[in-house]
C-alpha cells in the first residue's frame, strides 16, 4: 500500500503498461518532454523513448485516426486528449471508425485503443475545460466508457483499459487529480466494468461517478447527521453500466438519486433512471431523481459551484425522494 495522488497513480499505471507490453504506446499533444499539461505522462518519454511516448501535431482527429492505424498494425495506442472540450474534432474518427472497426470487419480487427482525457469541472477554468461529454460516448455502440474516482481505481483501471481489446474512453476527473489515496499495487482489482458500493446504506441510493463520488460521500456523511442512511454507488463503468449492482441497490433502498456534472437533458442520468424505473418498478417508493448540471453551456467559473451538484442540491433531492 502506498499513498498516491490520482495523477501519480495514472502515471504509475501507464508506466506499468508500457513495461508490460512493448506494443503499448502513448500519443498526444505535449505528452513528451512536458509530460502533459497535467503531468500525467511525466518522465515516461525519458524512460521509454520518443517512439513510445509520442508528441503529436496539434490535431485531435489526426491523433485518433493514426492511433487506429497503429492498432491495425498491432499496437495498443493510449492517446491523450489534452482537455475533454477538445475531443470533438476527433468525434468522427471515434464514433464512425474506432467504435466500429471490429464490427465492420466481422470481428477481424480489434481496436485496443484507449482515449484518455481529463474531464469535469471544479477547477476554475475557462470555457471548454470543465466539460462532461460522457453521454455522447455511452450512446455510441462499440465503445466502452469508464472513469475512476480515486487513485486506487485510477491505477488499475488504466491498466485494465489498456489491456482491453475493445476501445475505451477513459475520463479522468481533473479536480481529483491531486487528491491522495491508498493504492494497493498487488491485490487483484475489481473487474473494469463493475460498479462499487462505496458506502452501504438503507434509505436511498446515490448513483454517481468520477468527480462526484467524493461529493456524494460527503453528502452521505451530512445526511447521516440528520439520521438518513444513504448508499453511494460509484458506477466506474459508464458503458456498459453494471446493472446488477445498481438494481440490487435500488431494489433494496427503494429510492435513487443520480448525480452527474453533465447537463441533464439526454445525459447519462436519463439512461440510469430509465433502467432503474424498469428494473425496480415494484420496489421504487419514489421516482428516480437527477441532480446534474443545468441545460445551458458550462457557465463562467465563478458560477461553477452553483452549477455543479453539491451537498445541498444532493440532499435536497434526497429529501424530495424521501418525501414521496
Amino acid at each position: 500500500m502506498t499513498a498516491f495522488t490520482m495523477a501519480k497513480a495514472l502515471n504509475a499505471g501507464l508506466r506499468r503498461s508500457l513495461e508490460a507490453d512493448p506494443k503499448v504506446l502513448l500519443a498526444g499533444e505535449d505528452i513528451g518532454r512536458l509530460g502533459g499539461v497535467f503531468r500525467i505522462t511525466e518522465g515516461l518519454q525519458e524512460e521509454f523513448g520518443t517512439d513510445r511516448v509520442v508528441d503529436s501535431p496539434l490535431a485531435e482527429s489526426g491523433i485518433v485516426g493514426t492511433a487506429i492505424g497503429l492498432a491495425l498494425r498491432g499496437y495498443r495506442p493510449v492517446v491523450e486528449i489534452q482537455f475533454e472540450g477538445f475531443v470533438f474534432p476527433a468525434f468522427d474518427q471515434i464514433v464512425s471508425q474506432l467504435s466500429r472497426m471490429f464490427f465492420r470487419s466481422h470481428g477481424r480487427l480489434p481496436m485496443p485503443v484507449v482515449v484518455r482525457m481529463p474531464a469535469g469541472g471544479g477547477v476554475g477554468a475557462i470555457e471548454h475545460h470543465s466539460e462532461s461529454p460522457e453521454a455522447y460516448f455511452a450512446h455510441t455502440p462499440g465503445l466502452k466508457v469508464v472513469t475512476p474516482s480515486n487513485p486506487l481505481d485510477a491505477y488499475w483501471m488504466i491498466q485494465q483499459s489498456i489491456a482491453s481489446d475493445d476501445p475505451v474512453i477513459f475520463f479522468e476527473p481533473k479536480r481529483r487529480y491531486h487528491e491522495k489515496g491508498e493504492v494497493d499495487l498487488v491485490a487483484p482489482p475489481l473487474p473494469l466494468h463493475r460498479a462499487r458500493v462505496v458506502k452501504p446504506g438503507r434509505d436511498a441510493t446515490l448513483l454517481t461517478y468520477g468527480g462526484q463520488v467524493r461529493t456524494c460521500l460527503e453528502a452521505a456523511v451530512a445526511a447521516a447527521e440528520e439520521g438518513k442512511d444513504l448508499e453511494v454507488v460509484d458506477l466506474r463503468s459508464l458503458s456498459p453500466l453494471d446493472d446488477a449492482t445498481v438494481l440490487e441497490s435500488v431494489a433494496r433502498t427503494g429510492r435513487a438519486v443520480v448525480v452527474h456534472e453533465a447537463s441533464r437533458n439526454a445525459g447519462l442520468g436519463a439512461e440510469i433512471a430509465a433502467r432503474v424505473q424498469e428494473g425496480c418498478f415494484f420496489s421504487l417508493h419514489a421516482p428516480v431523481l437527477r441532480v446534474t448540471g443545468y441545460d445551458f453551456p458550462y457557465p463562467p467559473s465563478k458560477l461553477e459551484s452553483e452549477f455543479l451538484p453539491d451537498l445541498d442540491r444532493i440532499l435536497d433531492a434526497v429529501d424530495r425522494t424521501l418525501a414521496y
Binding site: 482527429s61 487506429i68 492505424g69 492498432a71 464490427f103 477481424r108 453500466l241
Partner: protein
C-alpha cells in the same frame, strides 16, 4: 475555373493511341508480360464493374460504385505494391481489391446488404473499404508509423522494407482529415504514398470546386513531393507509384500522387450524371481509355494476340457468371451474430439484450409451430 493542366506537368509513358513516350524523370521498367498482365487485370476489373452495375439494375444489389474509366490508375498502382506493403482503399477500388486477392463476391456483399466487409485485411494486406470520405488516410499514416516502429522502413535491403498506399478521391482532398494525414505523415516522415484518383468529379461537383490549382501541388505546402500522372496510363502510374513506394520504404517519407483520370460512369448507381455534366466531356475521355490504349500497344508490339484476347474474354465471362450466381447465394446475415461482433469482449448488457431478442424471435417460431 478549371485547374490548369499543362502537358509538362503530367507524367505520361503511353499515349492514348498506344504509343510509348519518354519522360525525363520516370521510366517504366516492366516487361511486355507485365503489361499484358495489366491489360488482363483492367479487363477483368471492368467486367466485374459492369456486372456490379447490372446486378444493381436487376435489384440484386442496393448500390454499386462503378470504377469505369479508372482501371489504369488502379491496376498500375496496385501492381507496384510489394510484399510488405499495406493498402488502404476508399470505396471504388475494385480493381485494386481484385489484385490484392479480394474475392469478387466479398466485394458485392456490403452492397447487397448481406454483410459488413467480409475479407481478411491482415492476410490480404488490403484494408476494409472506407465510406466516410478521407478517414482512411489517417489510418494509413498510423499504420505506416507502426511500420517505422517495427523496423520495416529504411533497411539496407529493400526486400525488408514496406510502406502503405492509400487511395482517395479529388473531393476528399478538401476534408480536414486528409490534410491532417499530410501533416502527420510529413512530421514523422511516415512511409506512406497518398494516391489521389482525380476523376474530375465529386458526385456533381467539378474538381474546380475543391481546388483552383492542380491537386498534386497540395503536397508542396506540406513539404513532400507531389506528382501528377496520367491516370489512364497504367505504365506511367506504375512507374510513379513504384518510385513513391520505394521512396517511402527507404525512409524518405511521404509522396502525393495525383492520378489524372475520369469517372466514366455515374458516381453510384443512384446517381444521374446527365444532370450535371456534358456528354462531350465523356466523349473526350472515352478517347483516352486505359484499356484501349494498352491493348493497342500490346497488339502493335505483337506482345498479345487474338487467342490471348479470347482467353481473356472467356475469363471475364466466367467471372461475370460467378458473380451472377454467387451473388444470389451470398449467405444471409443473422441478427444474433451482430451482438457478438460489437465487442471483442461482449458485455453482460449486450448478452442479455441478445438473449431477449432470441427469446422474442423464438416466440414467433413457437407460435408458428403451435399455429
Amino acid at each position: 475555373m478549371t485547374p490548369d493542366t499543362t502537358e509538362d506537368e503530367i507524367v505520361q509513358l503511353l499515349t492514348p493511341a498506344g504509343e510509348r513516350t519518354a519522360n525525363a524523370d520516370f521510366a517504366f521498367t516492366g516487361t511486355d508480360e507485365d503489361v499484358a498482365g495489366y491489360l488482363r487485370d483492367m479487363v477483368l476489373a471492368r467486367r466485374l464493374d459492369t456486372e456490379g452495375t447490372a446486378l444493381q439494375r436487376k435489384g440484386e444489389l442496393g448500390l454499386w460504385c462503378p470504377l469505369l474509366g479508372q482501371e489504369g490508375a488502379q491496376v498500375g498502382s496496385a501492381a507496384a505494391v510489394g510484399p510488405l506493403d499495406f493498402v488502404f482503399p476508399s470505396y471504388r477500388e475494385h480493381a485494386v481489391a481484385l489484385k490484392m486477392g479480394v474475392d469478387p463476391l466479398a466485394l458485392l456483399a456490403p452492397f447487397r446488404g448481406t454483410s459488413m466487409i467480409d475479407w481478411d485485411p491482415r492476410r490480404l494486406r488490403f484494408h476494409l473499404y472506407s465510406f466516410v470520405i478521407g478517414t482512411q488516410t489517417l489510418h494509413a499514416v498510423g499504420y505506416a508509423m507502426g511500420m517505422q516502429r517495427d523496423g520495416v522502413v529504411g533497411n539496407p535491403d529493400p526486400a525488408d522494407n514496406g510502406a502503405t498506399l492509400v487511395y482517395f478521391g479529388d473531393g476528399a482532398t478538401s476534408q480536414g482529415d486528409v490534410n491532417e494525414a499530410f501533416v502527420f505523415a510529413a512530421s514523422y516522415q511516415a512511409p506512406v504514398v497518398f494516391f489521389c484518383q482525380n476523376n474530375q468529379w465529386a458526385i456533381s461537383e467539378p474538381i474546380a470546386r475543391q481546388s483552383r490549382i492542380p491537386l498534386y501541388r497540395r503536397a508542396d505546402g506540406y513539404g513532400f513531393p507531389g506528382v501528377r500522372v496520367d491516370g489512364n496510363d497504367p505504365l506511367a502510374v506504375h512507374a510513379v507509384t513504384s518510385w513513391a513506394l520505394e521512396r517511402a520504404r527507404s525512409g524518405k517519407g511521404p509522396t502525393f500522387i495525383e492520378a489524372f483520370t475520369y469517372r466514366m460512369g455515374a458516381h453510384t448507381t443512384s446517381d444521374d450524371p446527365t444532370k450535371y455534366r456534358l456528354e462531350a466531356e465523356l466523349a473526350e475521355w472515352r478517347a483516352k481509355d486505359p484499356i484501349e490504349r494498352t491493348k493497342a500497344y500490346l497488339l502493335d508490339r505483337g506482345a498479345i494476340d487474338q487467342p490471348f484476347l479470347d482467353d481473356l474474354q472467356a475469363e471475364s465471362d466466367a467471372l461475370a457468371e460467378r458473380m451472377r450466381t454467387g451473388c444470389l447465394t451470398l449467405p444471409p446475415p443473422e441478427l444474433p451474430d451482430m451482438w457478438s461482433r460489437a465487442f471483442a469482449a461482449t458485455p453482460q448488457y449486450l448478452a442479455t439484450q441478445r438473449a431477449a431478442y432470441v427469446a422474442y424471435a423464438d416466440s414467433f417460431l413457437d407460435a408458428e409451430v403451435a399455429g
